[in-house]
Symmetry: C2
């Protein structure tokens, strides 16, 4: 049925290609200056204002990165810490068979926490959409952590969140079917876009290409396409121009074997 697509009114807006050019993606924070979602996040966790101001002042540079551009290079041990301000990115490793994405990064996420302590980075970070990244000197960040226990605690908390996410990723890759993995990813991102405040009434923009999804799911782009179509056809999700709408969260969560995150918005550090 090449391009017929006459299945009637529901759920099947063709979901054709959308631009990943420089205009379409969400630009939070009203006016002019670069809004820092990480600051918000830290404030909510209870990091004191002095520390926040210090961190903000420590921003050496705000880089703009085009789609597909490298934010952090694999292996390299720079003395810089990168914070994602706008756009989506992915953390990945290379294997002979291709690329395995470890995590999608959303605004407010720290790209390369490990640089604070490890000499080698096991992964790289690349831009999925055009991104804005705040660059800090890792020395400064370490100093801030030393000076403000609340900062140290927050960073440690982030590190453990990352690790927990990686555990869940491994579980998905090892023990879930393509269907399950995809459903799980959709649930995950649903939750995270809400947490990051970039959702919109039960829908969210998922700028990742089907290739990108294949990379994180351990699948092929072709199979992602098919599986996605199946979920659409069953009326579980809607998908137009990269905007995901979850139509039946319960069913989706069920086939995903998804457990919502514990309410540990405030990471239990120490």
């Amino acid at each position: 049925m090449p391009q017929a697509e006459k299945r009637g009114l529901c759920t099947d807006v063709p979901a054709r290609v959308a631009p990943r050019g420089a205009h379409a993606w969400p630009q939070r924070g009203g006016g002019a200056r670069a809004f820092n979602p990480l600051t918000e996040r830290l404030r909510r966790i209870g990091v004191d204002e002095a520390a926040l101001a210090g961190l903000d002042a420590g921003i050496v540079e705000v880089r703009s990165i085009a789609v597909g551009g490298q934010i952090v290079r694999e292996g390299k041990a720079t003395a810089r810490l990168h914070i994602l301000l706008e756009g989506w990115a992915c953390r990945y490793t290379r294997v002979a068979r291709g690329r395995q994405t470890l995590a999608f990064l959303l605004p407010g996420d720290i790209c390369d926490l490990d640089t604070l302590h490890a000499a080698l980075l096991e992964y790289g970070v690349a831009a999925i959409t055009p991104c804005k990244v705040a660059v800090l000197r890792s020395d400064d960040v370490r100093r801030a952590a030393a000076a403000h226990p609340s900062v140290a605690a927050a960073l440690l908390g982030f590190a453990f969140e990352d690790q927990a996410a990686l555990v869940r990723r491994a579980a998905s890759l090892g023990r879930r079917s393509a269907r399950g993995r995809l459903a799980h990813l959709i649930c995950e991102l649903h939750e995270r876009t809400i947490a990051a405040g970039i959702d919109a009434e039960g829908s969210y923009l998922l700028p990742a290409t089907q290739d990108d999804m294949a990379d994180i799911l351990g699948l092929t782009n072709v199979h992602v396409s098919r599986t996605l179509k199946a979920l659409r056809d069953e009326g579980l999700i809607r998908l137009d121009t990269r905007c995901v709408t979850i139509l039946d969260l319960a069913a989706l969560a069920h086939i995903a074997d998804f457990t919502p995150a514990a309410p540990s918005n405030m990471p239990e550090v120490r």
Copy 2:
């Protein structure tokens, strides 16, 4: 060909079942007292003797755990840190489809580093062979870390090693074939048994059941059996009574796409 196995002289000792009872597995450290391989490891990294003595003195209990027994329970946030003194264990998470093992633990490994900082454990730890585990109060360990920077650095280093291992695990699960994963596991363990000083001239004891291997590889026990047989038949490994001998490391590393660990025996902390 049920139980014929007449393929001649090479590589095909039937590899039948071996006991996992309480007698067969390596008991390091000659005589009577419980030898602590972690202490050795820390000493090599350059942790000072005072700190080592303190940690050793902090051992509240040495527990013996039978095959299949729980060393650390999932989810539970105990105020105890567990160090594997003898035997093999595995760190795992549960998923609807079964268990996904995240790592095999060898003597000298810390079972549940996260308990030092996180309230929730994403994983459990179970004994693959009979194990001896040193139990410490996490408060004491935190105090030791605070008092001795070298201890803090070492712990942080271990945390990053764990994380790096997890990254490689995810890559394997997502992007390697069964053959590749198995070959990779064999190379990995080759390296780690050497590092832990429990190898024997190019061979090592791999006490894990084929079920255990299936759990870490994201496969079925049946498929592990077949894949293992293929590797044996091709003369890449020998396998008798759970003793692995690598016959052609280069070939194995090639099909595994294996990169030997960086010589960061001394983790580059700070």
